[in-house]
Each structure stands twice: as C-alpha cells, then as structure tokens.
C-alpha cells in the first residue's frame, strides 16, 4: 500500500483480524526477552511465567481450569489434534464444519458420518441423534459453535447433551465464536474446544484446545513433553502472550457486538430494500453479530469481490480457505442452496475497528455495482 493510497476498508474479520494495539505491544515486548520456558534458569522461568499467565487468561475466557488449556500452532492443528487425539471409534461431524475438521475426518481411517443442517444453517438435532444411534459406540461428535461463512450459531449445549447421552465425546470448533459470544465450557458441556488467536485480534500461528477435565488426548506432536505431554515443541512464547492479551480484550469487547449487529442489520435491510431478490444466507438462524453472507442471484461472487477490491473494500466470497479454489461453498450446498445462489454469494464480516462509515462505503460500492449490472440487464434472479 503506497502512502498516497487510501487505506483499504477491511471487512474480512472471519478470515483474520487486525492485531489489537495492546496485543502488538505485548507481542513485541515478549519477543525482546530471551528464554525457553523449559529452561530452569531465570530467563527460562520468566518465559514460563509469561506462558502460564496467558494460559490463565485463555482459561478465563471460557471458564476452564488453566491446566486444561493446551497451546498449539492454531485452530487447524487444534481441531486435528482433538479429532485424532480423542481416539474415537467413529466421527460424527456436521456438514458445515470448517475444512480442517472435514479434511481431518476424511484423512482419518475412522468411519465418518455427516449430520445435515436445516436451510437456516443450523444442525438438525434429530438427525444427529439418529447418527449417534447408528454409529459404533465411542464416537466423537464435532460441531462448530458458529459457522465461518454464515455466522449461524449452533445449539452447542443441546448437542453436548445428546452426545453425552450416547456416550460420545464432543469437540466444538469455537474459532469464530470466541470473543463474539460468551463461551463457558462447563455450561456448554464440550470435551474439546478449539480456539484460534488470529480470529480474536491476536497474532497468527497460535491457538489452543480447551479440554474438559477428563477428556483423553493422545498427542499429535511428540517430543520434549511440553504442554503436559499433550503437545511437544518449544512454546511460541510471544504468540501465546499475544493470544492471552487478545482474549482479555475480546472478552471485554463482547458488548460491542451489539453495535456491530445494528450495523449489520441496517446494511442487510438496505440491500434487501434495494435488491428484492437478495438472499441473506442463514437469516433464519441466530447468527454472530459480525457476519453477513449475502447472495444476489445472477451476480457472481467473484465479480463482486473484484469490484470491491477496486473500490478499496476487502471482503470474501465464501470462506478464506475455500476462496483460493473455484469451488462452491460446501456450507451453502449443505443448506440446500443451488449452485446458482452459492456462486453469487459474498461474505462480509465486521470487527473491532469497523465503523458505520465503513459499512456505508460498502453499501455505496455494492449499490453502484448492482445498479450498473441492473442497467445492463444483469439477468438477476
């Protein structure tokens, strides 16, 4: 970005969040201290203490015991570690899980069952229960807390209850939910909870699994025995410190979600008023306040993101992880949307730096594209 160019408006918080200013300070200061937390000398002990302080902060975010927080390199590793580490006999995942859960399940040599979702994007609990009846005992259920593409919030406590009733363990990918809705692992009843630092305003390259006190975990990475033997490798001290700081900030900022919800609802209202065919994906579900997935049938998602890029607005079509490939979102397919609609969808996601003026700028840019295409006889619908 050259200096004379306007800073782009970033509306892609579900892909990654700008690091919070206080986190940048915490990370850079931690990087300037030397010390391997496994070393017993003073430098090592202060690194250890920094890691443990951050662990307490992550634990506080989800009301867990610090010793049940296991740090690792990020959400993908955490979810893989949970899926493999639970040593389940089969895996029951929802059809809208993030790629890392889908791919980890498929790469395992276990039977995998997929629980369907309603058109709203919320898991069908009776179908989940049917699968649990069918699956061999000792299954692991994996359902995300909130979807990365639509923001649809899943009934986690109910899912946990059903899983427990059938003697199954329960993993919940809370990467998108953390810092946006309150999470309490005791109340939710999760055995494994995946968290990611860079989605809550912390640095990339760090994440965690939060375990229930009795959840088994066979380590994915072995070696020096760090993280109580659950995850070996020298801890990313500065990353962990930043993650802890980001967790505190994000928790304190949860009330700000109400502001983002107003911005989001207003935007969706404006778009629907202007384009009667617009589809708000997942509107029937309870959603994260920051996420909007909108399809304008006939107006290709790629055309839209290109237009927004030229207008200096950063959004995504589908999740960041699937946008690299020309592939219709598995989430929208699972919700029953046609390829036509799915290919016309974009995702806008807000965060702590998003202001009303940013959302207004987005709407204006969208309107100009829509009007131009409409004038060309765009063939919408």
């Amino acid at each position: 970005m050259s200096a004379n160019m306007k800073t782009p408006i970033y509306l892609d918080y579900n892909a990654t969040s700008p690091i919070r200013p206080s986190v940048i300070d915490a990370v850079t200061s931690a990087m300037q201290s030397v010390g391997n937390p496994s070393s017993v000398h003073g430098a090592g002990r202060s690194a250890r203490s920094a890691v443990e302080q951050a662990r307490a902060k992550i634990a506080a975010m989800v009301n867990a015991r610090p010793r049940d927080v296991m740090f690792c390199s990020g959400g993908t590793e955490a979810s893989n570690a949970a899926l493999y580490g639970a040593q389940a006999s089969s895996l029951i995942i929802s059809a809208i899980e993030h790629e890392c859960v889908q791919a980890a399940a498929d790469a395992s040599d276990l039977p995998v069952f997929r629980a369907p979702v309603a058109e709203s994007g919320v898991i069908l609990l009776n179908e989940l229960e049917d699968l649990l009846c069918k699956a061999p005992s000792g299954a692991l259920v994996s359902v995300m807390a909130a979807n990365n593409e639509t923001g649809a919030i899943q009934p986690i406590a109910q899912i946990a209850e059903i899983a427990r009733k059938h003697g199954a363990l329960f993993h919940c990918d809370a990467v998108q939910a953390a810092g946006r809705i309150p999470l309490d692992i005791g109340a939710l009843g999760t055995n494994y909870l995946t968290l990611s630092s860079h989605k809550i305003g912390g640095p990339q390259g760090v994440g965690a699994i939060v375990l229930s006190p009795t959840a088994p975990l066979k380590p994915l990475i072995v070696g020096g025995g760090q993280e109580l033997g659950r995850r070996s490798g020298t801890e990313n001290v500065a990353g962990i410190v930043g993650f802890g700081e980001a967790a505190m900030e994000a928790m304190a900022a949860i009330p700000d979600m109400a502001r983002l919800a107003l911005l989001r609802d207003r935007l969706e209202g404006q778009m629907r008023a202007h384009a009667p065919t617009a589809v708000i994906i997942g509107a029937a579900a309870e959603r994260l306040a920051n996420t909007s997935c909108i399809a304008i049938p006939g107006l290709k998602g790629e055309t839209q993101v290109m237009h927004f890029d030229l207008a200096g607005i950063c959004i995504s079509s589908g999740s960041a992880c699937s946008s690299g490939k020309v592939k219709v979102s598995h989430v929208l397919s699972a919700m029953g949307y046609s390829e036509h609609i799915a290919a016309s969808s974009i995702r806008v996601s807000f965060g702590y730096q998003t202001e009303k003026s940013d959302v207004d700028a987005f709407f204006e840019a969208w309107k100009s594209l829509y009007d131009r295409k409409a004038a060309q006889g765009g063939g919408f619908g």
Partner: protein, 395 residues
C-alpha cells in the same frame, strides 16, 4: 587476572545468557522485518480476494526464497511449520505412514533430539521396525554401524546435523551417501545447524531437513521443512484442512513469524563466516580461562568436530545442581532444555558412555551472536570461583 580484565568483569551486565542451544535472543533486525505483518499487513495469506491476502502471501514467497537460499534448495521445496518439533514429527511419521507398508524399517540414532526419538517410538508402536544406532564416545555415528543397519527394507534414516546437548557435527555427506546407496530416504534434523554451519542439501543428499526459527535469532513458533522436489508423494501430512503449504501442512500460516524466519536466514547467510570465527574465538577464550584454572575439566563429545557455540563440560567431583546454585547470574543448562522437565541424567551423555556421576557434574554452555568477551571472562571467573568454593575438582 589483570586489572583491566577485572574492570571489564565488573562492568558486565548480569544475568548473562549462556544457553544459546535452548533458544536465542531475537535479533532486532528480525523483529523489524516482522513488524509490518504484526501491524498493518495483517492479512490471511489464504485470502485470495483482496490486497491484504496478497501481501501476506507475498511475505511467504519472499521468506521461502530466503530459507531456500541458505541451504541451496529451491523455494518450492520449503514448507513452513510451527517449528522443528512439528517438522520432525511430520517427516518421521509421515514417511513411515506412506512407505512403511513396503519398507517397514526406520533407522535413527541414540543421541537424536527427544522429538525424533519419540516420533520413532510412535512408529515402532504402530508396528514398524525401529533400529536406534549407538554413537562412539565422541558422540559421532559409526558409519560402519550405519552401513550394516540400513538395508533394502529401510524406508527412512534420520540423523541430526548438530547435537543440541554436546554440539557434535555428524558427517552428513557420508551418511547421505550410505543411505541413498541402500535406497532409503534421508532426513536430517538441522535445528541446531541451520544458519550456523554451511548446509547444502545437494552435498548432503538430504531428502528432508528440519529447520527452526528460534535457534537462529528468529521467533519461536515457526520452522520449516525442506523436502526435495525429487521426492513426490513420500510424506503423509500430520494434519489436514485448508490445504496450505501445497497440501502438506494445513492451517493459516503466520506471515509475521515466517518473515522473521526469512530475515533470520538472510542475516545468518550473510554473517555466518564472520560469526563462526567470532564465536570460535570466544569459545577458545572461555576454554583457555577454564582449563588454565581447572586442568582436570573434561569435554563431553568430540573436541573439534562440534559447533563451537556449544561447550558441554564435566566438572569431576562437583555436583552440577550445586554448581548451578552458585552461578545464579549465569543462565546455563544442566541438560537439554527440552529435557529439563525430566529427571535423571541426560540420555545423550549416557549414550556417549558418561556414567551418572559424570552426567550430574556436567553443564551445557551455549554462546552466540551477542556474547561478548567481557561476558566470557566474567563467566569463566564465576565458574572457577564456584568450583573452588565447592572444594575443587576431584578427578
């Protein structure tokens, strides 16, 4: 000691960090290279729809070239990971996962890093055959033993470049030659060697190499895998997901950490020769001071075929823990940092034939880029004084 030396000693800032094999202080230049990605260029490299994503992806491309440049590899042969422990797990489990059914044997060495040995034991528990080769008293691998161990049923041989506890440098070129003659694949854990001694993947004939960021004045939480482009489909990923790093290592990459590894690599490449000389001189000075006062000291591991930033030294008759307690302003290690959670003597020292008494009387002193002559003099004086106060060496 002269008056001038005494003055220098008095001025030195304590505690003195002498544990460069555990981790290294971050170079300010590395931090500077990381800052843009921690502040304004925070994109997800996988975001293909906007400039933040492209910028982040470009950071990965640049670093890939920088890392490749240090080991004469091609950029597309470098895959970023969270560190050398992950890379070692990935290679050992991943190669056996693919080749184990055809070639069930895995060969490694008794003095490897814990994560290599643990990953190897994991493979043995999966039903693969594991042979752990001993080393000679100097810590070096006996090439004849290697010749005998590697056969046409061997999928992978894993031998580290520089040992983390005793610093000895294994003859990688000769090892690579033998391994390939037998048709096996060769992995080297270069966490302690990368950026410190010249490494050329072609000369070594390495198929895989593990690289760490925080051992070369870069950040913790980042490392890399070198995988020869001639070795396609030889590695099962450790974890799956968005298909980042050519599908070998899923998960959002951390551009700041990766840029840090890249910058640390470039600095290492530019300054390696001068730095090795400087560190060699400082180590010679430390040894001279120590041996002058305490001639009965012994060095664990080969005296010259070692990374000069490492000194693993035995104080015969002195309890290592007591010695450590008397030199509190020197940050040194009594074993590998990674093994400090475990009790009992170091398995590396055991493997080179040290008995428990020797192991318990040994310290690991690691020096590096920021070590000064004044610090060396101070450390030598402290070590000698503490030894004397504990009754002197009892060889």
């Amino acid at each position: 000691m002269t008056v001038r030396q005494r003055k220098a000693v008095a001025l030195v800032k304590t505690p003195i960090y002498l544990d460069y094999q555990a981790t290294t202080p971050m170079d300010e230049r590395v931090l500077a290279a990381m800052m843009p990605y921690l502040t304004t260029a925070y994109g997800n490299p996988h975001s293909s729809t906007h400039s933040f994503g492209w910028q982040a992806e470009a950071a990965l491309d640049i670093a890939r070239e920088q890392v490749a440049g240090l080991i004469a590899a091609k950029p597309h042969e470098i895959y970023f990971t969270s560190g050398a422990t992950e890379t070692n797990n990935m290679v050992i489990k991943g190669v056996m996962g693919i080749w184990g059914r055809k070639k069930p044997k895995l060969v490694t060495v008794a003095t490897e890093h814990k994560c290599v040995l643990e990953a190897a034991i994991f493979c043995r528990d999966q039903g693969y055959e594991l042979e752990i080769l001993p080393v000679a008293k100097d810590g070096l691998l006996d090439l004849n033993r290697l010749q005998d161990a590697v056969d046409d049923r061997t999928a992978l041989v894993s031998v580290m470049a520089v040992n983390n506890e005793i610093g000895v440098i294994q003859p990688l070129e000769a090892i690579g030659e033998i391994v390939h003659e037998k048709g096996a694949l060769f992995h080297t854990d270069a966490a302690q060697a990368y950026g410190k001694i010249p490494l050329d993947v072609n000369d070594i004939q390495a198929d895989y190499m593990s690289i760490s960021g925080h051992k070369i004045y870069g950040p913790k939480g980042v490392g890399a895998l070198f995988k020869s482009s001639e070795r396609q489909n030889t590695l099962m990923p450790l974890f799956s997901g968005g298909g980042q790093e050519a599908g070998l290592r899923s998960g959002t990459q951390a551009p700041a950490l990766v840029a840090g590894l890249g910058a640390a690599s470039v600095i290492a490449q530019t300054e390696m020769l001068a730095e090795a000389t400087q560190i060699g001189n400082l180590m010679a000075r430390l040894k001279a001071r120590l041996f002058e006062a305490l001639p009965d000291l012994t060095i664990n591991g080969h005296v010259s075929k070692r990374w000069q930033g490492n000194l693993n030294i035995c104080f015969p008759g002195i309890d290592g823990d007591l010695l450590l307690a008397n030199i509190r302003d020197l940050a040194v290690s009594s074993g590998a940092a990674c093994a400090s959670a475990m009790t009992g003597p170091s398995y590396v020292l055991e493997a080179i034939g040290c008995d428990e008494a020797v192991a318990k009387s040994s310290l690991r002193i690691g020096i590096g880029r920021f070590t000064t002559a004044d610090e060396i003099d101070y450390a030598a004086e402290k070590l000698v004084a503490a030894t004397v106060s504990l009754g002197g060496l009892k060889p």
